[in-house]
């Protein structure tokens, strides 16, 4: 299967957007090569603003641009966007509901070698807690591009969580994405895996392996973590025995929490969460760390088997 990093797809999508809409501007905080906003910078230097290593300034400058009708995409690593820039995002972007796209890369532990200080495993929780914030998490390069375009068309604050590693391209160009609906990408009747980001590929692998053993697994790609598509989750809870959530994020406040919160009020269902269990990451190759923290198809399989 072809592989491509979501951040690379982001860089390409920005260039497409730059050609489509002269109001699109891109901001970065000294990470243009890593976040891939350098691709936009090369094409539209007059619409690319590097504020230096200053993430608070990055977010509030984006807010100012948005008040004047621009559509700013603000990029840095997820750690420094959602972490360092939290209060600027909360008060100066989201409180006035400004049309800013917060588009960080290097989310999760698959950042790898940089270690725990750079591995954002709390950003979904932080962004999800902000009133009105839309939180998107692409599974592959195709979905990333569609999300970036959808975010540009949506009027309001959006957080798009992208990664560093090359990951399998799961979807064709005809894959549909719109903000809101979760996509059931594999039907199944025994159990449901609701996954997001790079765990979607793992969920598909797990479903294929379990099918060989006669276990029918439904796979839902939750691209929009907020607002959560309750209908699709509820239907899965009603039609399958239990739900497994899988994400490259803390189990506190992420997709697993969102699904649990929703089902707790609508249709109490067993929700088994796969994610990081209240600890920080460490240095290592991305693949090693995914193994170490059990963010794998094997883990999904074992959790399903233990609970079926």
């Amino acid at each position: 299967m072809a592989k491509k990093a979501t951040r690379t797809a982001y860089g390409e999508a920005l260039v497409e957007l730059g050609n489509l809409n002269k109001d699109v501007v891109v901001l970065d905080a000294d990470l243009t090569k890593s976040t891939k906003t350098a691709m936009f910078q090369a094409e539209f230097p007059e619409r690319h603003i590097n504020v230096g290593i200053a993430e608070g300034d990055l977010m509030a400058t984006a807010a100012g641009l948005a008040t004047c009708g621009k559509i700013p995409f603000a990029s840095t690593f997820a750690m420094f966007a959602a972490g360092r820039g939290f209060e600027q995002i909360r008060n100066t972007i989201a409180y006035p509901k400004l049309n800013v796209k917060i588009a960080p890369t290097h989310a999760g532990i698959s950042v790898g070698e940089d270690g725990g200080s750079h591995q954002s495993i709390e950003d979904i929780a932080l962004m999800r807690a902000i009133p009105g914030m839309v939180v998107l998490s692409p599974a592959d390069a195709t979905e990333t591009k569609k999300m970036v375009h959808a975010a540009a068309e949506y009027n309001g604050p959006v957080y798009i969580r992208m990664g560093r590693l090359d990951v399998p391209v799961l979807f064709d160009e005809d894959y549909d994405f719109e903000i809101g609906p979760a996509n059931t990408i594999k039907e199944g009747t025994d159990v449901t895996v609701a996954a997001t980001g790079i765990l979607v590929a793992e969920a598909l692998t797990a479903a294929e392996k379990l099918a060989e053993e006669g276990i029918s697994v439904r796979v839902i790609n939750v691209g929009t973590i907020k607002p959560l598509d309750g209908n699709t989750i509820l239907k899965a809870a009603q039609e399958t025995k239990f739900i497994v959530t899988a994400e490259e994020h803390s189990v506190i406040g992420g997709l697993g929490s969102a699904v649990s919160e929703f089902l707790g009020e609508t249709h109490p269902t067993l929700v088994k969460k796969i994610g990081i269990y209240d600890e920080f990451g460490q240095s290592g190759k991305g693949a090693e760390l995914l193994e170490k923290y059990e963010l794998t198809a094997e883990k999904i399989i074992s959790v399903i088997k233990e609970n079926l």
Binding site: T61, L65, T67, Y95
Partner: protein
């Protein structure tokens, strides 16, 4: 000089409104609203290209109240200028009012950005000024910061950005009243030497008496003439200016005057107005 006289009268009206609305609200920040009254009056009644009948007018100048707790000064100026009825001033900080404790751009016509959390307004102003440069528009962006607010590190991030991108379409004010909640700014966390700091960050620096209307207008004109770098006007002010018992009193940073105090304040402001007339 009739223009100056008119502006002084407007500033006095703004001050009376500030004191009265905070009294009615029984909470708010009179000290830093009063110290900024002359600057804000100069901007709204002389300097800025704005249209109260069309608050979103294309190409209008922008104002960012970075020290958002001075909300009463912008509310008073906007009401005096006709953006909304002065009757609303009595609803400050009340449930259901458009006049939130700190300015909310979604609620108040004429407020360009919601503020309140300190240290972010200069970055926002940079964004506005960058937007103007990108779209080749010639509007100007004004921003008012507190001196205590300069303790926020993000101000200096933004100061670098403005100079780096040569944002000569920005004019910033520092309302230098040397008081913050916990006491004198130089005692809590010194910010001096301000002129040298801003110069070192690549700004054109002007220093004025922030209550001298002619000096404010003169500085604004000089700021416009300066090309290739942003201008900051360090305006030496008195916290609580115009109300004798509030002047330089730290306690009036965030405490409302009583009805008796308010009556006394309004009388004082009217007395000064008569003498100057």
């Amino acid at each position: 000089m009739s223009n100056i006289k008119l502006l002084k009268e407007k500033a006095s009206n703004v001050r009376k409104d500030i004191v009265q609305m905070i009294c009615a609200a029984k909470s708010g920040h009179p000290g830093g609203s009063l110290s900024a009254a002359d600057i804000v009056t100069a901007l709204y009644f002389d300097e800025m290209n704005i249209d109260p009948a069309n608050p979103k007018m294309e190409g209008r100048d922008r104002f960012v109240l970075s020290k958002g707790h001075a909300a009463p000064v912008i509310y008073a100026a906007l009401a005096e200028r006709g953006y909304f009825s002065k009757d609303l001033l009595g609803t400050l900080r009340q449930y259901g009012s458009i006049l939130q404790g700190h300015p909310d751009m979604k609620k108040v016509p004429g407020v360009e950005i919601s503020t309140g959390s300190l240290g972010q307004g200069l970055s926002v102003a940079n964004g506005m000024a960058l937007s103007a440069k990108i779209s080749k528009e010639d509007f100007r962006t004004y921003v008012l910061m507190g001196d205590g607010e300069l303790q926020e590190g993000q101000i200096w991030e933004a100061a670098m950005t403005a100079a780096h991108y040569k944002l000569d379409n920005i004019c910033a004010f520092v309302d230098f009243n040397n008081l913050q909640i916990d006491g004198n700014v130089d005692k809590v966390m010194g910010v001096e030497p301000l002129d040298k700091k801003w110069e070192a960050f690549g700004w054109n620096v002007l220093k004025i008496d922030g209550h001298d209307m002619e000096a404010i207008l003169d500085a604004l004109a000089k700021a416009k003439e300066c090309k290739g770098k942003p201008t900051v006007i360090i305006a030496e002010t008195t916290k609580g200016k115009g109300v004798s018992f509030m002047e330089n009193v730290c306690g009036f940073h965030g405490v409302a005057p009583t009805e008796e105090e308010t009556a006394k304040a309004v009388a004082e402001l009217e007395h000064v107005e008569k003498i100057e007339a």
